[in-house]
């Protein structure tokens, strides 16, 4: 539900800046590294030394094509780098190399899931945090398509540091490690109608970027930044209201809160009979308020023109086709395939496709053991629990899909009991190893030898004569107790099916 009165709706368009995952910068051979000492990841090109020239990092083109294809967009065979001219200390050349009139990617879309109440209004979307829901409204999920206007390549600027504790005085310092890091600016259509739709879009986009290996899109590291264009209008108004742009939103919470705060600010103005003025806004998360940074009419004239140091970027259709061929399966496609190919529940498919690494882990495990549903259970339950408890990543575990697959296979073959497998699992997670060798080493191999099982069964029957009599009198309940006793006697190694069979035969004849 919107924070606005029902007769109003928000109109939101988003601009996302995402760092591309490359080894070196967009136009220089300096490595892209986070957390280096200031100005320790720079090349004369990044410092705009007199006489240097930019050379395009081809990897950036590859990654941009990937994103373009994944968002169903046109990858333009001809695009142009332009200079955006303005003075700022963290912009070494006095211009940013960007793409202006002819971007590399144009006109795409992506789908988001929006929760819709019975009145047809969007309630909340995707994993957006739940807002007060209308009483009695029954939310259902609905798919909504968000248009993407364009995506273009540009370079990031450095950072100005005004912090006295770092600068050592009230001077400002400049760190150019980030200057020249490749960015894709992805601009959406004004298709979102609530703050929750906005974050659902951002999450879907981030998931795609990560799946494709286009960007790590870590908001905390500034690798995924968002500007929001917001306006409000009466629900049936034929035209958009005047919009404002909120700059530099660096968390999903801030995106939602800032959009709602700005919408409310605009509502107050409108209800007071005042005009909305086009402006660039800043959001203060502590005070939950947006405020005007500068008015659009005072905005810089960037004097864009094609960069004469760079030739237009021409992309061979064969190149685009090759990238398409090598494109990894996207989250949505994977989810659908898991449901059909492995007969997984929607829930399991959803959990297992949260990241590409987890999905690949599952598929490799399933292949190793030939029991996809069992593999899914192990991963959604045991593997994810371990990751959560250890507060680590999947890659940090010593457990490999091969190990887990083999462990499950041993259980499926009846050579290892589920209980023994659970005992082995923590060792595999911490130290890894060959499950079969470990099983043998620890003497955990399931006992399926009829003679040996008969021995345990006979032992338990003679030690529990009264319970056995109950069963013989027609009460099946104590059977489980007897089962447990046999398993205990066998130290968990007896194959349960055989134990059950032997018990039944020996007690009932």
């Amino acid at each position: 539900m919107s924070v606005l009165p029902d007769r109003y709706e928000m109109v939101i368009g988003l601009e996302v800046h995402t760092h591309l995952k490359t080894a070196s910068k967009l136009f220089s051979p300096a490595p892209v590294q986070y957390g280096k000492d200031p100005n320790h990841s720079v090349h004369p090109i990044d410092l705009a030394m007199p006489g240097v020239l930019p050379v395009l990092n081809e990897r950036v083109v590859e990654l941009s094509i990937r994103l373009g294809l994944a968002i169903h967009a046109t990858v333009n065979r001809y695009s142009v780098f332009a200079r955006k001219n303005y003075f700022y200390p963290d912009l070494p050349k006095g211009y940013q190399i960007s793409q202006f009139e002819e971007p590399i990617v144009s006109e795409g879309w992506l789908d988001i899931d929006v929760e819709v109440a019975d009145d047809g209004q969007s309630v909340s979307a995707g994993t957006g945090k739940g807002k007060k829901k209308k009483k009695g409204a029954v939310p259902t999920l609905e798919r909504k398509r968000i248009g993407i206007t364009r995506a273009h390549i540009e370079e990031d600027a450095g950072k100005s540091i005004h912090d006295i504790s770092i600068a050592g005085s009230d001077d400002s310092c400049i760190d150019l490690n980030r200057a020249g890091v490749p960015l894709l600016e992805i601009v959406s259509e004004p298709d979102m109608r609530s703050a929750q739709e906005a974050t659902a879009y951002l999450r879907a986009l981030r998931s795609i970027l990560r799946y494709l290996g286009v960007s790590d899109a870590d908001m905390e590291k500034g690798q995924f930044r968002c500007d929001a264009n917001v306006s409000i209008r009466l629900r049936d108004a034929p035209e958009f209201g005047t919009r404002t742009e909120i700059k530099n939103l660096n968390s999903f919470t801030n995106v939602e809160d800032a959009i709602e705060a700005e919408a409310l600010r605009q509502l107050e103005l409108i209800e007071d009979g005042e005009d909305i003025v086009q402006a660039t806004m800043a959001y203060d998360p502590e005070r939950h308020r947006t405020s005007v940074m500068r008015l659009k009419e005072n905005s810089d004239d960037y004097r864009y023109f094609p960069d004469p140091d760079l030739i237009p970027l021409r992309i061979d259709p064969a190149h685009i086709a090759a990238v398409r061929e090598a494109l990894p399966e996207l989250p949505e496609e994977k989810r659908n395939r898991f449901e059909t190919e492995y007969a997984l529940s929607a829930y399991d498919a959803d959990v297992l496709t949260a990241t590409r690494a987890l999905a690949e882990f599952f598929e490799a495990t399933a292949k190793g053991c030939g029991a996809p549903k069992v593999a899914a259970n192990w991963i959604t339950r045991d593997v994810l629990r371990e990751i959560k408890e250890r507060e680590c990543e999947l890659e940090d575990l010593s457990l490999t899909p091969e190990m887990l697959g083999k462990l499950i296979a041993l259980v499926e073959e009846g050579r290892l009991t589920a209980r023994s497998a659970s005992q082995l699992f923590p060792y595999l997670v911490s130290d890894g190893g060959d499950p079969e060798a470990l099983m043998v080493e620890r003497g955990l191999e399931a006992v399926s030898d009829v003679g040996a099982i008969d021995g345990f069964v006979d032992e338990v029957i003679s030690a529990n004569a009264d319970v056995v009599q109950q069963v013989r009198d027609g009460d099946d309940k104590p059977l489980n107790f007897l089962m447990g006793q046999v398993m205990k006697a066998s130290q968990g190694k007896a194959e349960p099916g055989q134990v059950r069979k032997a018990l039944a035969e020996k007690i009932r004849g």
Partner: protein, 491 residues
């Protein structure tokens, strides 16, 4: 005059022969060059030397040459770089206060290639500030003096490079040419100067004036010296995205002396009496007649968009310059104003104090033509006309192999004569700028004197066809002795 001194007074070929024969060592030549630079300091054509390093490098070159292991025809030869071509560890002032204490931390491609070929980079040549100017008067190092007449300009912006070659300080110097900045001073100083095809020589390490027009090229005593130098500095460079991938052919082999059957186009727009010194036009016609006598044919050609070249050039060049020079902001290197109040003050004062009047004029012009509301009328329009000018040449080259024109409508003018009239200085670029706009190779070479001052013939070639203009120029040189004319002895 010692052996080295008299060799140095010749051209590359004489020095090379002398070195290879053992008449002199590279050390002696370099010593003679340094001494001569010092002796002629009043010319202000050289702004800095690196005597110690040059001596050490010359010693190594001398040993190589004595052992018969010369690296290239330039091995052991003293060469000057224009002060806007960076050389690691050396100043690169670009004749600007804003870079007066700047030392480059890295090498240009041409400096690297010259050094790899064994050339001895003895120092740096005076120029107009950031290559903006046609007289080498816009310089913190003071105006360069023309060796032919000391109260006249060397031309510009590569005036120091041209003057140094003319005065016999070095046989070869590198310049840069954005609208004629190699050819015009070559013409004024009576030396050969080549602006290669755009993209033929890497711009990596050339401090940019107008990126789509700038091109590094050699100046030498002879056309063949320019060919030898281009052979070393030319060719593809992955550090310059506008560098052409095509292989540079063997230029020495192209200098056959034969022009028989070759067609020279004479643009009718340029061979008009109006606006040209008649004596200049006469020398140029003599040179063409000489080539005809050697078997070349001439045909009239038309470059109908010629009247628009100056306007087109000054819109594009200033637009690019306004952006290229934004990096000189007093923040990371170069001059920063003292006691600034705030960021705005730092920018305003560093740039106001750091740039000279001509640079400021062009930054203002360039900023204006790119401004919102004016872009289409100026920059956009200029780009469209540039395309038309390029097509003019394509059409002209359907009927000829090279195009001949005067390099300049006049001979060198007196120092200060045009200092207050920038427009007349801009207009005298009429014959040279079109080759930059079209990206074509063009050579200026001496073709005689008018009133005791050198006149230049310009030969414009097809794209990537430096070989043909060098061949024609060399053939003319073999039939005449204009290149041997020397300025009156310099005190």
């Amino acid at each position: 005059m010692g052996q080295a001194e008299s060799l140095l007074a010749g051209g590359l070929a004489e020095i090379r022969e002398g070195l290879d024969r053992g008449d002199a060592t590279s050390s002696e030549i370099v010593e003679a060059s340094l001494a001569r630079i010092e002796k002629t300091a009043a010319l202000a054509v050289v702004v800095s030397t690196r005597a110690e390093s040059a001596r050490a490098e010359a010693e190594a070159a001398s040993k190589r040459i004595a052992a018969g292991q010369a690296l290239s025809p330039l091995d052991g030869i003293p060469v000057l770089l224009k002060d806007n071509i960076v050389h690691a560890g050396e100043p690169a002032t670009c004749s600007s206060r804003i870079l007066e204490n700047f030392i480059s931390p890295y090498d240009s491609t041409v400096a690297e290639r010259l050094q790899a070929a064994g050339a001895i980079l003895v120092g740096r040549a005076n120029m107009d500030e950031f290559a903006m100017g046609s007289s080498t008067e816009n310089s913190i190092h003071g105006p360069a003096h023309n060796p032919w007449k000391l109260d006249h300009t060397c031309g510009g912006s590569s005036g120091g490079s041209a003057g140094a070659v003319a005065a016999g300080l070095v046989p070869i110097a590198l310049g840069s040419d954005t609208g004629g900045s190699i050819r015009q001073p070559a013409s004024f100083c009576g030396v050969a100067g080549l602006k290669p095809t755009y993209g033929r020589v890497s711009r990596w390490g050339l401090v940019a004036f107008a990126s789509s027009l700038d091109q590094i090229g050699p100046l030498g005593r002879r056309v063949s010296d320019c060919a030898a130098a281009l052979q070393v500095i030319g060719g593809h460079d992955p550090r310059d995205s506008t560098s052409v991938p095509e292989l540079l052919p063997s230029l020495g082999g192209a200098l056959t002396g034969n022009v028989e059957g070759l067609t020279i186009g004479l643009p009718e727009e340029y061979f008009v009496e109006e606006g040209v010194d008649p004596a200049v036009l006469a020398r140029v016609r003599d040179a063409i007649a000489e080539l005809e006598a050697a078997g070349a044919k001439t045909v009239p050609v038309s470059l109908p968009n010629s009247p628009h070249t100056i306007a087109t050039y000054y819109v594009i060049a200033t637009a690019e310059a306004s952006s290229n020079l934004a990096r000189f902001d007093g923040v990371r290197y170069g001059r920063r104003a003292d006691k600034v109040k705030d960021l705005e003050d730092l920018y305003m004062r560093s740039r106001s104090e750091g740039f000279g009047a001509e640079v400021k004029r062009r930054i203002l012009l360039g900023t204006y033509v790119l401004s919102a509301g004016y872009y289409d009328a100026y920059y956009g329009q200029a780009q469209r006309v540039r395309t038309l000018i390029r097509r003019d040449f394509e059409r002209a080259f359907e009927t000829c192999d090279v195009i001949a024109t005067p390099t300049m409508p006049e001979t060198a003018f007196a120092l200060g004569a045009k200092a207050d009239d920038p427009l007349s200085m801009y207009l005298s670029d009429i014959y040279t700028v079109s080759a930059n706009l079209a990206g074509l190779p063009a050579l200026s070479m001496p073709c005689g004197l008018a009133d005791g001052m050198p006149v230049g013939l310009q030969l414009i070639g097809k794209s990537l066809d430096e070989a043909t203009i060098l061949r024609v120029g060399d053939a003319l040189e073999r039939r005449t002795d204009h290149h041997a004319a020397r300025p009156p002895e310099i005190a």
